[in-house]
């Protein structure tokens, strides 16, 4: 009697084992098929947004440096704000759980910024070159001004002395 109960329990455990294993395998498959792509999209969306943010910040710094060098950065502001707008859309899409759109907008933002840094660097180089020319003009104007003033004073003194002699 005891032996038969033992065998019955053993069979039950074996059957349950199969069920448990099947359940685990099914769970893993469902996770792999449906859940993990969602996490993956979320993760890639988050990475794309972070990269777009860093890119926007470095472009902004390049534009600011160009501006500090005296360049007119109006043309760059349009692209910079287009990229910022796309980043905003990406952030809002991500916050609302739309990871595919978030990823797409963040990538578009990065593409928009691609040329801004190089354009800013070109403008900065041109502005610095213009500044150097300006410095030379300033130096020449100082020299010219001092020369004219000195000549005027010398002429005044000479004429004054001549006048006293006569």
């Amino acid at each position: 009697m005891n032996q038969s109960i033992f065998n019955w329990r053993l069979n039950l455990i074996k059957v349950f084992k199969v069920y448990i294993l099947t359940t685990i395998v099914l769970f893993v498959m469902v996770f792999a098929l449906f859940v993990s792509p969602v996490f993956a999209q979320g993760s890639s969306g988050s990475t794309a947004i972070s990269l777009a943010q860093i890119n926007l910040q470095s472009c902004y710094k390049a534009v600011k440096q160009a501006e500090a060098a005296g360049a007119n950065v109006d043309s760059l502001m349009v692209n910079l704000n287009d990229a910022a707008g796309l980043l905003t859309k990406a952030q809002l899409a991500y916050a609302s759980g739309d990871y595919i759109s978030a990823n797409s907008y963040a990538s578009q933002s990065q593409s928009t910024l691609a040329e801004v840094t190089s354009q800013a660097q070109t403008l900065r180089a041109n502005a610095l070159s213009a500044k150097t020319e300006n410095s030379i003009i300033t130096l020449l104007s100082v020299i010219g001004s001092v020369s004219i003033l000195f000549s005027g004073i010398v002429a005044f003194v000479v004429l004054d002395r001549k006048g006293r002699r006569t």
């Binding site: 943010q53 926007l56 910040q57 902004y60 710094k61 534009v63 600011k64 501006e67 500090a68 950065v73 109006d74 502001m77 910079l80 704000n81 910022a84 707008g85 980043l87 905003t88 859309k89 952030q91 809002l92 899409a93 916050a95 609302s96 759980g97 739309d98 300006n134 003009i137 300033t138 104007s141 100082v142 010219g144 001004s145 001092v146 004219i148 003033l149 000549s151 005027g152 004073i153 002429a155 005044f156 004429l159 004054d160 001549k162 006048g163 006569t166």
Partner: protein
């Protein structure tokens, strides 16, 4: 006599000519009047004026305009946090210059040129429902520019003002390129809204 009678005139002409020739150099050392370094933040209603929405119905879309004016002396990168709170949750403090502890529902990034202005249109609607006891309102989503942003804010019935009141506010942050972080710019705009059932 000859040129001697013109000696003073010659000196005056020399001084004037020297000043004229030196003008590019003088331009460099002239100090222009300095203005305060600040950013203006203002909010406008749907008609671009101070007529703000007050009575809100669930799913009803309204447009707000945020105006930002940059007077910091150079191009600036900004971030606006969109936040929502009930009457008891943390609010930004004008006196202590602190931002609210509430998490941002969404963020808006933009750049403004020196002495430039930007206007940001914000399409906003609220999705909420009132609990069966009519004493609590559950805010489910706040839709900002088409993106449904979830919030778990609940609003208790205000017996004094006879309604459910929620506070929508926008905090301004400015990018500090030394620390590479956005810092609270001590500016916010806020609207109290009555959520009608």
């Amino acid at each position: 006599m000859g040129l001697q009678q013109y000696k003073t005139l010659i000196l005056v002409i020399a001084v004037v000519a020297a000043l004229f020739v030196a003008s590019p150099a003088i331009e460099q050392i002239v100090i222009f009047p300095q203005t305060d370094s600040l950013t203006e933040l203002s909010i406008m209603g749907p008609y671009h004026n101070a007529t703000y929405p007050y009575n809100i119905v669930s799913n009803q879309k309204t447009t707000l305009y945020l105006d930002v004016k940059n007077h910091v002396g150079s191009t600036a990168l900004y971030l606006i946090d969109v936040k929502f709170r009930n009457q008891t949750q943390s609010a930004p403090d004008s006196f202590n210059h602190t931002s609210s502890d509430q998490p941002a529902l969404g963020q808006i990034s933009f750049c403004v040129a020196n002495n430039g202005t930007i206007e940001l249109p914000i399409d906003i609607s609220f999705q909420y429902n009132v609990e069966a006891n009519n004493e609590t309102l559950s805010m489910q989503n706040i839709i900002v520019n088409g993106a449904p942003l979830s919030t778990d804010t609940t609003i208790a019935w205000n017996p004094d003002n006879q309604g459910f009141y929620g506070n929508l506010f926008f905090e301004l942050y400015i990018f500090n390129d030394t620390t590479n972080t956005f810092q609270y710019n001590e500016r916010f705009v806020s609207l109290w809204l009555k959520m009608n059932t």
